[in-house]
């Protein structure tokens, strides 16, 4: 009953934000398919590649885009900064609002004086966030599937798309776990969100540089984005389990740290 009450409250507070982000996310992936199919983006990029040194051409086409095929470009759409920005925004905003944001709003004192165990509160927030991120990931898959169907592109197949959605879900869950750990120490949701976004931006650019420049490749294992690889799943049909495992471990560690801290901290 208490969990349902809390879930209902979260749905009413976060619902519009989540609906907007999911719609944008689906639309973005639909538009990626439209862009890839309507203009000859592959040829345009290939022409652009010719202006680069041969070593860089190889790096860009294989490491970053997963090849300049339609599949590779749609996969790149999932690694596009806009795609990451939407997913990470949902993950970090939900985490920042969970503890630090609640304290900042001032309502925490009254809320946590209710017969609501902190473990229950934390668990319900995690459940809500994971459901939200799952729905967001599925919205992206729906956008890609509709785009492929609408523009007569070769289909990836349900298995590949669901695996991709799972990888994206785990990446954003990992950001959620990290941000929730910060949130459980913080008093201001805005500051927690700022730190989370900064880490996500650094991680994204570090992995992009690491992929394009072999001398910087050593940073790759230290970036979360390295463990999200649409190319591996959609283009190379590689095994994603190592990626999943790492993202799951980061998510679990972040949530466990957050729960540990949250149970012990003074409120507000």
């Amino acid at each position: 009953m208490i969990v349902l009450n809390l879930l209902r409250h979260l749905a009413s507070r976060q619902g519009p934000f989540l609906a907007l982000c999911s719609a944008l996310f689906a639309l973005f992936h639909f538009l990626i398919c439209a862009a890839v199919s309507s203009a000859n983006v592959g040829a345009a990029l290939e022409a652009l590649m010719h202006s680069l040194p041969p070593l860089l051409q190889n790096l860009v086409t294989t490491q970053f885009f997963g090849g300049l095929s339609e599949r590779g470009l749609v996969a790149f759409g999932w690694n596009h900064p806009v795609s990451h920005a939407i997913g990470t925004a949902v993950a970090i905003v939900l985490a920042a609002r969970a503890v630090a944001g609640e304290i900042e709003s001032g309502a925490a004192e009254l809320l946590f004086s209710q017969p609501l165990a902190r473990g229950t509160y934390c668990g319900t927030h995690v459940l809500f966030a994971l459901l939200s991120l799952g729905l967001l990931s599925l919205a992206g898959v729906v956008g890609t599937s509709l785009g492929q169907a609408a523009f007569d592109m070769p289909l990836f197949g349900a298995g590949a798309l669901l695996t991709l959605a799972l990888d994206f879900f785990l990446l954003q869950s990992a950001w959620y776990g990290i941000a929730l750990a910060f949130s459980s120490y913080g008093h201001e949701g805005g500051r927690v969100a700022g730190i989370g976004f900064l880490l996500a931006v650094v991680s994204f650019f570090a992995q992009a540089i690491g992929r394009l420049w072999s001398a910087a490749a050593f940073v790759l294992p230290w970036t979360l984005h390295h463990y999200f690889s649409p190319q591996t799943i959609l283009v190379e049909n590689g095994s994603p389990w190592r990626l999943f495992l790492m993202l799951f471990a980061v998510t679990s560690a972040g949530i466990a740290l957050a729960a540990w801290r949250f149970r012990r901290r003074d409120l507000p």
Partner: protein
């Protein structure tokens, strides 16, 4: 039966000592005043009892169970000192939302409280951010009390309420106490504690100065009387029983009186008085009484 008990409570925030070895208990049916100036540690004590903060040492128990346990809060009502609510929700939605946290304790007192506090259906239909400070405080009181809790923890409950509503609210508190509920009422307003409570704890800088019956507190209070007579006032006025201190300057005098007022009133009745001002005692007057007693 003891409803609430704290023993040896100590709490520091960094280098600031919020509470030091505070102990007291409140019985069922008792309204217990927790009196002290701002920063004395009242809010910290209430937060520990509400399960929001953890003491460094000492214990806090409610209804026989540790205060931090969520299950015990089912039977507790808490009003924070700085109440803030979700601004975008309506008052009625907030009341309903908080009532749902206690599925086994329906909001049996809600209507009574709405009537006593003068909250209209129009108030309840408005968003919280559009309500005045006083109306928000009333909503906070309804949230704290609507489920008829066995223990009430109220931090400055009449803050922002007009005097008529304050009086009506005091009556409700007294009725709840008569029904066996325990009330811990924190305040820095002496008159409120005097008018409402059975016993009182006086706190200053995190330390408990005393726990005593309100009558004993009254006897301690040093009250200030300002006098102006048409003729010069006699210096013998300062020797009247109960006068702790006197400043007599011709026709004007200020008398600090502790304990029984009657000897002073009888002495004043002999005079040709032009002005007689008996100021409402303030919290400082209580502390003055303590230090006068201690010879400090």
């Amino acid at each position: 039966m003891t409803a609430l008990e704290v023993a040896g409570l100590t709490k520091r925030y960094g280098t600031v000592r919020a509470l030091h070895d505070v102990s007291f208990s409140v019985s069922a049916g008792e309204i217990f005043g927790y009196l002290g100036p701002n920063g004395a540690g009242k809010t910290t004590t209430l937060r520990i009892l509400a399960g929001l903060a953890h003491p460094d040492t000492g214990t806090a128990r409610l209804l026989g169970a540790p205060a931090g346990r969520a299950a015990v809060r089912e039977r507790v009502g808490y009003l924070p000192g700085e109440l803030r609510l979700y601004g975008s929700m309506t008052a009625s939605a907030i009341l309903e939302r908080f009532a749902r946290f206690r599925p086994h304790r329906p909001p049996v007192l809600r209507q009574l409280l709405l009537d006593v506090l003068g909250l209209s259906p129009a108030d309840l239909a408005r968003r919280i951010k559009l309500l005045s400070h006083g109306t928000k405080q009333k909503i906070g009181l309804v949230i704290a009390m609507q489920h008829d809790p066995d223990v009430l923890l109220l931090d400055e409950p009449t803050n922002g309420l007009d005097p008529l509503v304050q009086r009506a609210f005091r009556t409700v508190l007294q009725e709840r106490a008569a029904a066996g509920r325990a009330v811990l009422l924190s305040s820095h307003i002496l008159s409120e504690v005097e008018a409402t409570c059975h016993r009182v704890a006086v706190l200053r800088a995190g330390e408990m100065l005393a726990v005593e019956a309100v009558e004993a507190l009254r006897a301690r209070i040093v009250r200030r009387l300002q006098l102006r007579a048409r003729t010069a006032l006699p210096n013998s006025l300062s020797n009247t029983p109960g006068v702790a201190k006197a400043e007599i300057n011709g026709c004007d005098a200020v008398l600090w009186i502790q304990g029984d007022l009657n000897p002073v009133l009888r002495a004043v009745a002999q005079l040709d008085v032009e002005r007689f001002v008996f100021a409402e005692p303030q919290l400082e007057d209580v502390f003055l009484g303590f230090f006068a007693g201690a010879g400090s």
